[in-house]
């Protein structure tokens, strides 16, 4: 009985503290997330959410059409190693983890008017969204996120290099 009471107190304190901190913290998340890859990119629905749904391209065929139009720069948000092992043909590497180091060179090569499509490793990966967010902050206006990323592209047999 004593143990039940003690455990209840410890559990109660944990749950109250957890919910309170989550409510007030800017890094807090929703009580239920989006964990179904069929519905799009998975996300815990963080408050300062970086998943920008209206910028998403969730159709590989559409991405291919935009690729063929040559009007878009495909930007690879994955690590340099992943990029070197294979990437969408013509894509530029800008790993989101090294954004601060790489952005200056990128800015010199691609003006903010350039239309950009970011991608990473598919729907379990948020890096392409993070990269899109960062590029928006750097003044790029026309940005889309290809959510099926490299695996989706490769699976359809579209050109890689």
């Amino acid at each position: 009985m004593k143990t039940v009471k003690e455990i209840s107190i410890l559990l109660g304190a944990s749950i109250i503290a957890a919910l309170a901190v989550n409510y007030f913290s800017p890094a807090g998340i929703a009580l239920v997330g989006q964990w179904d890859t069929a519905k799009g990119v998975i996300t815990a629905n963080e408050k300062n959410d970086i998943v920008l749904n209206d910028l998403e391209i969730d159709d590989v065929a559409l991405a291919k059409k935009l690729h063929d139009s040559k009007k878009f720069v495909f930007v690879d948000a994955r690590s340099r190693d992943d990029y070197d092992q294979g990437h969408i043909k013509g894509a530029v590497s800008l790993p989101v983890g090294q954004f601060d180091e790489k952005i200056e060179v990128f800015l010199e090569q691609y003006s903010p008017e350039k239309a950009i499509i970011t991608y990473c490793s598919g729907r379990t990966c948020e890096d392409s969204h993070k990269l899109a967010q960062l590029l928006l902050e750097f003044g790029y206006t026309e940005i889309n996120v290809f959510i099926d990323g490299f695996p989706g592209w490769e699976a359809e047999g579209h050109p890689i290099e």
Binding site: T3, E6, I7, I9, L10, L11, A13, S14, I15, A17, A18, L19, V21, N22, A27, G28, I29, A30, L31, V32, G33, W35, D36, I42, T43, A44, N45, E46, S79, G97, S121, T124, E126, D127
Partner: protein, 169 residues
């Protein structure tokens, strides 16, 4: 009569055999060491998860074991359970119950790790650090480590003598 004698003899024999071990485990400094190591481990483990619940949620998703509706709640609550139980062990607030909570969590971790080890599922354990680089985990050593920590929890739980530096035992 015969039974009780046999029982008593057996018990006495047991005490003699285990005396050094009993002295060791009955020592309040040993209990304090076990409690603090356990507490610090859990407080440390909670730190990064509390700072980045979204990343921890994704790690839980990566285990591919838990229903989608519970993933966020787990990501919100489990780190605080680790923090509160860890602090309770360190300051000696209900140490037996805190040890019980910690060991219940360890059993869940061990089960989750074992299932993924058996089915060969690659995942990021997210035990202490969390990073989004998609680090893969070897489950075997982790399960072993969790059992060692679990043993510390058992010691704190079954310890019967008076405890050192304890607020409410």
């Amino acid at each position: 009569m015969f039974l009780s004698t046999a029982f008593r003899d057996g018990k006495q024999k047991g005490i003699q055999l285990n005396k050094p071990i009993r002295t060791f485990f009955g020592n309040h400094w040993i209990e304090l060491a076990a409690r603090w190591i356990l507490g610090v481990t859990f407080v440390y483990a909670s730190y990064n998860k509390i700072l980045a619940p979204a990343v921890f949620a994704k790690i839980i998703y990566g285990y591919d074991l838990f229903p989608a509706v519970f993933i966020n709640l787990m990501a919100i609550i489990v780190p605080f359970l680790e923090l509160v139980a860890g602090l309770a062990l360190i300051i000696g607030f209900y140490p037996r119950s805190a040890a019980l909570i910690v060991n219940a969590m360890l059993l869940v971790f061990i089960t989750a790790l074992s299932i993924n080890l058996i089915r060969g599922h690659e995942f990021d354990c997210g035990c202490f650090s969390i990073n989004s680089s998609g680090q893969k985990t070897f489950a075997g050593p982790l399960i072993f480590r969790d059992f060692l920590i679990f043993a510390l929890g058992l010691h704190v739980f079954f310890y019967r003598n008076s405890r050192k530096l304890c607020i409410v035992s």
